[in-house]
Point group: D2
Chain length 490, copies 4
């Protein structure tokens, strides 16, 4: 399982961005007790094609309705489709994709199709596929290989069916987690000769690409869409501002007013959580390691404390640091009865949940995603989602946020596919600022928002092109992981 010296985990990575529990909520026709594996079924769509593998092609109609509803909230992709009626910027593109298969993904795939691309698709997570949506895509002619509840073997089989096709070879990769990229590296390294680029969305996948790049083994340009400004602001600040409230309410029905809360970490996620809870009448404390973020917390009206100083008195503990063991067993021992503990940050490392799995503590599952951990003296700690990401486990991601991600992916594919020879090397790039701005501008009509245009005189005065970019390429509001290179706009 080592690849050119880099170790990849054998198990498919379950990307953190969208959780299966949420998505399956909408899967209203899944109660079928059909236990046959899709791999063993013979299915054809109404046009006679059988180049797909889904749970049940007959569910296509239900999936189509979901897709239609999603289209209403993804105006940017719909706008791209319209503009593409004349030119087809992806004409000739053969895209192989590996993402969650949801109604929103379907809108993206059908947009790529409208822009001229041929697509083949697998799921990036064994649980996250909406079967009805997969059926609808298959019915409209997309070779989709995915169903909910794949085995690990199924998972790689599906990916393989996407790339290992006679007479068809991908020239673009859209990946979410890096499993597809990994598979091609491992099994079909020659395929990279024709591939013009990789677009990767997840933190994990981006991290792998930087490792490959550092090791000199990245053989095509890659676009890191995870770190685009627009996407980051929405995934973190704006989305979390709403989902922290939503996640806590759905799991605990608690009242926020007057509650004492400590938020660990004052990055974008922490800022969103703090703003929302303060607005609801909670009293919020913040912990930070970085003095600049700490000073911001002060100026925003939050007392900056060490966790130890308030742990006995708070009603809620929220982690969003990106760090590990921020909440330790010692902290948990000192919390008061009924204290709620949850994580909005990095995967599931922030709360030392493992330390709670000791014989003297009793776990009681009181609701889906809610455990009471009971101390010998009767004290109960309310642990949400077992320390995994609250907003993914216990709330939903609004379509609008997914729309921004999907649009960013589409534009990254267009950019890489059309870039003139030499613009991008075998390296990892950020989306050019101008395209980042374009993603944002495509979402403004949702808010009936009217952008001001520079006059010629003003553009000259500012030394800017009237159409942007309006900020330098390195303008960002978030710290990315490794050193980044930025593409130049087309």
């Amino acid at each position: 399982i080592s690849l050119h010296g880099l170790e990849f985990p054998r198990k498919p990575i379950f990307s953190l961005r969208v959780s299966y529990s949420v998505i399956s909520a909408a899967s209203y026709t899944d109660s079928s007790d059909d236990e046959t594996s899709p791999r063993d079924k013979q299915q054809k769509n109404s046009k006679g094609s059988s180049d797909f593998c889904v749970k049940n092609i007959k569910q296509a109609e239900f999936g189509r309705r979901e897709i239609e509803i999603a289209e209403q909230e993804m105006p940017a992709l719909m706008a791209l489709r319209k503009r593409a009626q004349g030119e087809k910027p992806l004409a000739g593109a053969k895209i192989v994709g590996c993402t969650h298969i949801t109604a929103q993904t379907a809108v993206l795939m059908e947009t790529l199709g409208a822009l001229g691309a041929q697509c083949r698709w697998a799921a990036c997570n064994i649980y996250s596929t909406l079967n009805e949506v997969a059926a609808a895509l298959a019915e409209s002619g997309f070779p989709v290989f995915a169903w909910k509840g794949e085995s690990e073997d199924d998972f790689w089989w599906c990916i393989d069916r996407c790339v290992n096709v006679e007479g068809w070879q991908p020239n673009m990769i859209l990946d979410d987690g890096g499993d597809l990229t990994h598979w091609i590296y491992k099994k079909y390294p020659n395929m990279f000769k024709k591939i013009k680029g990789i677009v990767e969305e997840s933190v994990t996948g981006v991290h792998r690409l930087y490792q490959l790049s550092k090791a000199g083994k990245l053989c095509v340009p890659a676009m890191n869409v995870n770190d685009s400004v627009t996407k980051q602001k929405f995934d973190n600040l704006y989305c979390c501002r709403e989902s922290i409230l939503d996640g806590l309410k759905r799991t605990t029905d608690m009242m926020f007013g007057g509650k004492q809360v400590v938020v660990c970490g004052y990055g974008e996620v922490g800022k969103g959580c703090c703003a929302a809870l303060k607005a609801m009448g909670s009293i919020v404390y913040v912990t930070e390691i970085d003095p600049i973020c700490a000073l911001q917390a002060c100026m925003d009206g939050f007392r900056l404390v060490k966790l130890n100083e308030v742990i006995r008195q708070v009603d809620i503990v929220i982690t969003c640091t990106g760090n590990k063991n921020v909440v330790t067993r010692e902290h948990l021992d000192r919390m008061k009865n009924s204290c709620i503990v949850c994580n909005m940050g990095h995967s599931n490392t922030e709360i030392d949940v493992a330390s709670l799995r000791t014989p003297e503590l009793t776990w009681e599952r009181v609701r889906s995603q809610v455990d009471h951990v009971i101390w010998p003296d009767g004290k109960r700690i309310v642990l949400l989602a077992e320390g995994r990401l609250l907003n993914l486990s216990c709330s939903t991601v609004p379509t609008f946020v997914l729309s921004i991600t999907a649009t960013t992916q589409a534009l990254a594919l267009i950019e890489l596919y059309n870039a003139p020879e030499g613009r991008y090397k075998q390296d990892v790039y950020l989306l050019p600022k101008k395209m980042d701005e374009y993603v944002a501008s495509l979402h403004l009509p949702t808010f009936d928002a009217h952008l001001t245009e520079l006059t010629d005189e003003q553009a000259k005065y500012l030394g800017l092109n009237k159409n942007g970019p309006f900020k330098p390429n390195y303008y960002r509001c978030l710290a990315p992981t490794p050193p980044l290179k930025t593409g130049k706009p087309g």
Copy 2:
């Protein structure tokens, strides 16, 4: 069905304060397919008593756990229990109650018991009973007559079983909706000779009591606990500030940021909704009929408009006026595609839902409590809870809010039961200000809040008693329905 000239509806009134759909969410053991009517079953609790009628006495253990969890969030009642260990202010009280039967009610009933009272209880709503909780109460010896899914005949039979007992006659009534009071008026008017007073919680029930009083037919003192300041602030401003967000998220998963919202009515409910949505980044417009409330909306930063002026552009319409037909078919015709319409106000009169039940419009139920109403041109309006109260249908009422109501009820019972002859006449009273303040003070420890005490010198300067009341009896922040009389503190 007329009673002393007043017309009562024959059907039991389904009180608006807590909806069955919410409560049943927690009812995890109800999937039993036992179809036998409880009235036909022979059940005994472990002490051998069969003076009760519930769905299944064996579910008592599950209900007990729910009660124990609720106890943790109802500190005021628990504090009353403690203080009552010495004196028993309800010793000798025989209370007949008719309310929703939930874990929170159970905590109230067991508190009344601890204070010395004997209780008999029925449900005020045919759907709202939590069977496990009813079982737990029956198991601990409370004569409870209630189950989820009663017929109308069952409903009155249960009430009758509470009052029509050999060798036991109630001397206090705790009612929620007025059905119990109505039944006694109708069937056992003589019982009122021994009854010291009625405590009524609901708007509807209070309204009936004022009608009786106006007609000179109220024959015992009654306490209107609906209009106490503390309860009102929590039921309206604070609770709605949170539940508007919760209700919208659970039903639509929408994003609030940047959305244009019109809130009809700027009373306490409207103020709560506006504050919450503004804090989440929505752009909020307000409509009002009262210029004083209108001016407050202006000063709070909301544009005051007529509904017509913004109806084409808004993403969400929320009614909270207490009025009828605030949103008409004409408004609905002019809304844009995907506009969400919901009601936080008065029962289900505010949106003219009936006007949408016409042949040219298609209704599509897309989720529980969510309908798409589709116009011939494809426009969809998203109607929540069919225009019924959003916060009751689509979110939950936090235990803390219910705790304030329950404590108010308990104190009203104590006040009426212990009031010296002549303090209360045959009229409807508000809870004395001092007791209203006492309810509030019992809830302060939840927030580790420390009240300042007046010095003797300061009390003299202000002309106040050091223990309150701190405001005159007529101090209120909300307009009650009819002219009110206020009791003097004991």
Copy 3:
């Protein structure tokens, strides 16, 4: 100086509502060194009249400009003038007034004139007259007797010149502080036979009227305009929300972000202060004696503490309780270096400033209205306005707030003057709710705010008149001082 057994202070009461220091700020032509007393001057206006006594009639032009500017921000009075072009609701009214003489008062007086009234006016404060404005009024024919820097003898002389006129007897009184009313009671009690009513604005004056009423000595109806809902909300909540920031900035240039503040008292003034400081990033603690207000502070996100618990750590102490000795010498001794102490509440009793006038403490005046009180160890406390009202001493009252007061006064005069026999007895009344609402409605156009009108059907459903009142007369948001009676709307 005792009047019918009631003791009045001999010195004119300096009303608290508008401070002279503020008003004089605009008095740009006062550097004249003319030391002749106005009483000794012979002045005539351009029409030849000399029925006035002001500092210098030649300053009229400057005053006129101030009045014109004020007119632009007093749209409600200007609207009243317009509506009065047809009817003259004050035709025949002879109003004697005693208020601060400012540009805003001038707009009021000229409005009363336009409505048909004859007016004679004196100042209610020996320092607060704007000489230019007084000159402008005199120039346009108003008999005004007032100048800045009157002696006490001048003060009463001016009042006397207003009422003691041959061939003219007042039938209405507009008073601010009660001095005019007192003078008539004392000197010309028979005048009350023709007087239809008194309109009183100040807390002090209202208090005296209630005392008179209680003693059975009030011989005409009086209208307490101080406690009207609209006026109170603006004088307290909305005005203080802004002036707390303004007063602190102008005196100390401090930064609010991150500062720890304790606000004593969570009434309307406290709510305004807390909201503003929270919004600017301060961390705010609250003290309260009333558990209902305390619970509101909790739900609004403020920690409720006793002053002692935080006195060592806070950067700012603000009193707004209406109480005395809220901040004691003991508290002051424990404050940290540079702590700022100020009062937004009741006159100058809240901070025990007298306790700081001891030999071991050094006072250093560092700016106008700012004293450093220095402890032997070098600790400095920053005391603002010597504990008097910060918003009056160190900031200004926006014209818009004064407009609401003036409009309320005008409507109260109209109501009392036109009320049919018997509507008002010899008692103190609140402005009828309907007129309170009318004041509010006259100010809505400033915000381009559009009120919704009830349909006939809705009005019937709600049991309301379409034109209001929309709330019962006793609907209030603030506790008034003594038991109040309310007039019925005309």
Copy 4:
């Protein structure tokens, strides 16, 4: 006046950061009518030195008190002094400085002295010197050459007296505006041989340095402290959030509640203005050219408009774009009566004030910094500070903000002075992230803020040094002007 081909303006640049009108407010002893030029006076300080030139050395005591008060609010510099008691990181440094001469600068200079440096100082602005402070510095032995009201000839003479000294040659430059740097380039280019670096604070000065660098003519390393994250956040977001309210209040006494405001530009300054006004109850519209900032405005709850769309209805127009002619005569013509127009952005280019100086418009100065511009039809526009920066002209900069700037300057001097050979080339650098973080950390104690420290395990997990930097060097939240290079931390 051209220097190596670059054109420098002959007149000294009046830096924009601190305006003279503000500073002079505190200059309470300046009413002296001593008209003798300081250059013609013979003055000695109490130690007999006459190596200085100030207005009046006898005012030293007053200046010392101002310095002492400032020290209390500049804890970071005082902390640096303490830490420097052992080591003297600036031992041997000979610093020539050219900045505003205020109490805060004095605290900086005396800190540099305590750290081991010798200093000579001139003013960067002919009006901004506080004479008393200059006297106090001269009295304690600092060679200071500055007074309020210098002529242009005086200005350069003072600078020359700082650098042209026998037996003393500077090895560090601290500049604010670039005039000092310019003078040395022009007159004493050889001096650069001994100079280890330049620290420059102002936008203008930084711009010049980049021009020099681009032209290959920068002969020593330069540190751009203007663009450090901490300084920028405070100068823009946090400071403007408060000063927009302060500036508007002090000039107009207006009420914010309910007012309609348009803010042009949603960068950090715009974000601060919008947040503050929204919190005070204003209704805020935003204009933007950059779609990413525009989308942020939407998500923060502001309607994004073009200026034309709202210009007729708004009560206040605020520019903060950094652009020119954002508000044109056409806009001004369409504004409503009493509309207030002001600038929080870039120098005085944003509002086309020149277009208002036409014969048909009348200007009326109604207060200091407030002009009414009157149209022929009587419409008045209220123009503040003639379109110059409102927060500098009409409010004050809190000492805390100046403390951050001064600390940043001190650390930049220490870094450049102690950097090992080769760390810095002849280029313009940003303050290393670690030192930026250090500035922030030195200000945390003001807020009693407690930073969390990483455990070894956590530091390893994150790949960070436990002492920072915690963010990469290029992490910024603001767009700087030209391409930047960043120094590595020492």
